[in-house]
Symmetry: C2
Subunit: 274 residues, 2 copies
Amino acid sequence: MRNLDEMTITQAVLANNSRIGDDRLCEIMTSLVQNLHAFARDIKLTETEWQWGIDFLGRMGEANTTGHPQFALLSHVLGISTLVLAQNNRKPAGCTETAAFNTVSEQPPLLLDLGADLSTNPLAPKGYVQGSVLDTAGSPVPHASLEINPGSDEAPGRVLLQADEQGRYHFCTTLPDHQCIREDSPVGQILGALNRPAWRPAQLEFTVRAAGYQRLTTRVFRQSDPYLEADPLFAVRSALVAQWQWHAAGTTPVGTLSSDPFYTLAFDFVLAKN
Amino acid sequence: MRNLDEMTITQAVLANNSRIGDDRLCEIMTSLVQNLHAFARDIKLTETEWQWGIDFLGRMGEANTTGHPQFALLSHVLGISTLVLAQNNRKPAGCTETAAFNTVSEQPPLLLDLGADLSTNPLAPKGYVQGSVLDTAGSPVPHASLEINPGSDEAPGRVLLQADEQGRYHFCTTLPDHQCIREDSPVGQILGALNRPAWRPAQLEFTVRAAGYQRLTTRVFRQSDPYLEADPLFAVRSALVAQWQWHAAGTTPVGTLSSDPFYTLAFDFVLAKN
């Protein structure tokens, strides 16, 4: 195996795949090599360009953190995440659609009581969220767990609530706002170079689990958000866009008195059976 | 741009490319997205598999250092580097072949005098290297600079020598030996999972520069190395395999007396004109 050139290298790499014991891994590596080589060959990638790519991946690695996961974000902005989610989540009619990967963080989510206040920004309006976890027949799924990612840099991270025996849940959070992918991050720089918008529409992320049902990881977007139609992550689905209702100062859904205006959101999750 | 599925996502991502001002960047991004999507679609990549890939890239990023550049190494072991080098380095007959990327390190190489001793391992045999830098007519290229990477973890890093007015160079180094890609590194783990050999054949890496000539970055391999035919980096070229000649203890090429056996290597570099 010497003197490989642009005509012979792909077969030489693929020949190694006969050593792989796992059929699926062999299938993945074969397609990965074929498609990456096709990319390099189709556009006659230069040394300088490829070296830039390798250096860029190194900068991605340096910037990659749990809070700002660069590789996941790059997958999202290249549309690969939406493609992978779509081809693996064909659900029965009536189910809530999947719109995010279920990423397992190293820190377990903080378990809070129903009705918990997740808001952290005293200057931002509060939003009161309530709804039910249901099956496709409209019956409640009792005691489903809801992992909530308020999706804000200032938020305390993921929290876990447990719906009641009627499948009902409610909590309070800072009203989500659209957020910009950091311009100084590698993915932000790529979006800038591509002249693509970097604003993500306002959203809450949920992972809903219940015994006997498929896990659902999804996002709930905010109607009238100016960035809904140009989501850089290609994740928006019409059924996941919901109305945050404005309310003047007064009594909140949990019976407290608010001296500021506040918002409410009602959203039900419909799970598919296992 | 909502409700994208596996049939519509690729076109939706590509539609963004019309915003790109630079034609070449547009070409690169179009092919990258098409080929990555083809990969995910062809094998119906699952969420779990893609999440593993994203996490793996994060581990690559953590392990990526100048001395152990994981992303460059992954490019090599997937054959992409050889493909990119081959399609960009069609040289006139008689020229020394390219066999490596010219990676620019943050640290400038250490400038040493001709004849310098780069060896660092007192227990390993010494090797005396000499040769000339020539043009395709066989005429010397005076004062060419040779950047040398001894390719060993114990080596002091890159050094720079300047050939004399006859294009001649010589130096002394530890005899290169084959080296194993670290099993505990992400790329080493990939090679293990693929049941692929991780031993790189012994080599010295050179970058040769001279005004009026194309820069040459290449590797010189050692004849009879047991790993020449299974180089995990797909870089070996017959014309770059050279004989290290064994010598009994005695007078070295530089006139010193060696109480241990030593080796000599003669290798000329032939540069292509600009």
